[in-house]
Symmetry: C2
Subunit: 249 residues, 2 copies
């Protein structure tokens, strides 16, 4: 953790309202939530900076307050992206709470703000608040579900279809901005989709011929019908994981 660290008190004042509104604290007894938030420390990370490294234990439960975080396994020079988390998401809650050595490293993709709660404080709070445990369970379930979707995507769709579907979803998540914006580098995108940067580059040409193109970091959906047909309909019953407090991409 090399970034500027604010004092706990400082963090609590600045972040209070923000954190209080997070799904994690929904329905949690006010007094308890407040005391948890008072224990929180926030940290800013620059794009590209590592937040924590695989194979180490995690002593705090971290939540993304701003930014985007890539969870991936780093093996030599190659990175295998597993999940892309966004604001409101928790970082490997299981690893933090159950002393699992992380399987994954976390890296900030954009300028990112992380709030951390000491794991033992959370564990203590869980034994008092059924609702907090419930929320944690709902988030963990949702993240797992997202991870299963990725696994299935990887084995049922071609690289081109995954690229198309991912960009399309990204566009749908920002309905107000047109054109939609790709918040990460193509390199990271390729890692997230389990392909090499070279393949991504080639595949984008193919995708462009089917109604969706990426110029710079702007995503243009030119022919929705066509691109949807091309990607294959999302094989999964629609379910907005955001209801579970999951904002992963």
């Amino acid at each position: 953790m090399t970034s500027t660290e604010h004092s706990a008190a400082d963090a609590a004042e600045n972040d209070f309202d923000e954190l209080r509104g997070f799904h994690l604290f929904e329905g949690v007894e006010a007094g308890l939530a407040d005391s948890l938030i008072a224990n929180c420390t926030s940290l800013w990370f620059k794009p590209g900076e590592l937040i924590f490294e695989q194979d180490n234990p995690l002593t705090r439960l971290m939540i993304i307050s701003r930014g985007l975080v890539d969870l991936s396994r780093i093996e030599g020079t190659r990175e295998f992206g597993v999940l892309l988390l966004a604001a409101h998401d928790l970082l490997l809650p299981g690893a933090a709470l159950f002393d699992e050595p992380c399987l994954l490293s976390a890296r900030a993709l954009t300028r990112t703000k992380i709030c951390g709660f000491p794991a033992d404080v959370i564990l203590g709070a869980m034994s008092q608040s059924a609702r907090l445990s419930f929320n944690l369970l709902s988030v963990t379930s949702g993240q797992w579900r997202m991870s299963v979707r990725n696994t299935l995507d990887a084995s049922t769709r071609t690289a081109a279809q995954r690229v198309g579907a991912f960009l399309l979803r990204l566009a749908d998540l920002q309905p107000h901005t047109s054109p939609a914006f790709l918040p990460i580098s193509k390199r990271h995108l390729s890692s997230r989709l389990g392909i090499t940067p070279e393949t991504l580059s080639r595949v984008l040409q193919n995708v462009a011929e089917h109604g969706l193109y990426l110029r710079g970091r702007m995503i243009f959906v030119r022919d929705r019908e066509q691109i949807e047909r091309f990607c294959g309909p999302d094989p999964y019953i629609a379910r907005d994981e955001r209801e579970l407090g999951v904002f992963a991409l």
Copy 2:
């Protein structure tokens, strides 16, 4: 659910001791655990039988009391195995508790006994017992962790390495039987490892040349050194997921 169904009372009597010892109920207040178990219904499934189908909601939280269950996405004729669960494991707890339509179907691989608890009863109990919520969270985290391991295996190892590593782990999990026993068909094994049956067949010859062979359903580890070298060392820090109440393969 086409199998013989026992009455709840019947189930409770027969299964009481068995269920009470499951990780799910560890540390849960005795009265509460007992009343939950009284609400449980058990069902037997024949090998190959579907336990539930993808895209449907789940109304009960199911736990495997005996047998092996394959969680997979069925797409036309091809099946994509995601996780192989064993006795003591829960079946998609998140789907049952949060009304997620399942992404996966569950199929009994061996003769299997499933105990089910109505989801709303569990939800009610969770609000009373922090420990029950905690246990559910630990199981869900552990299953997710296992699923991440699979994802990583799929993208970092070759088919042959995955086959070798899987059989080796299977052998290690039954230290008392020699030779170790493959409890499922090769077809299912291939699905679990994300390869075709043809590839599995070919790859087994290759694996045999590196110290591990499969004759019928017997697994012989002839040269442990060699096969471990061949598969590449398990890249993940050792952690026995069984501590988390997860027995998935």
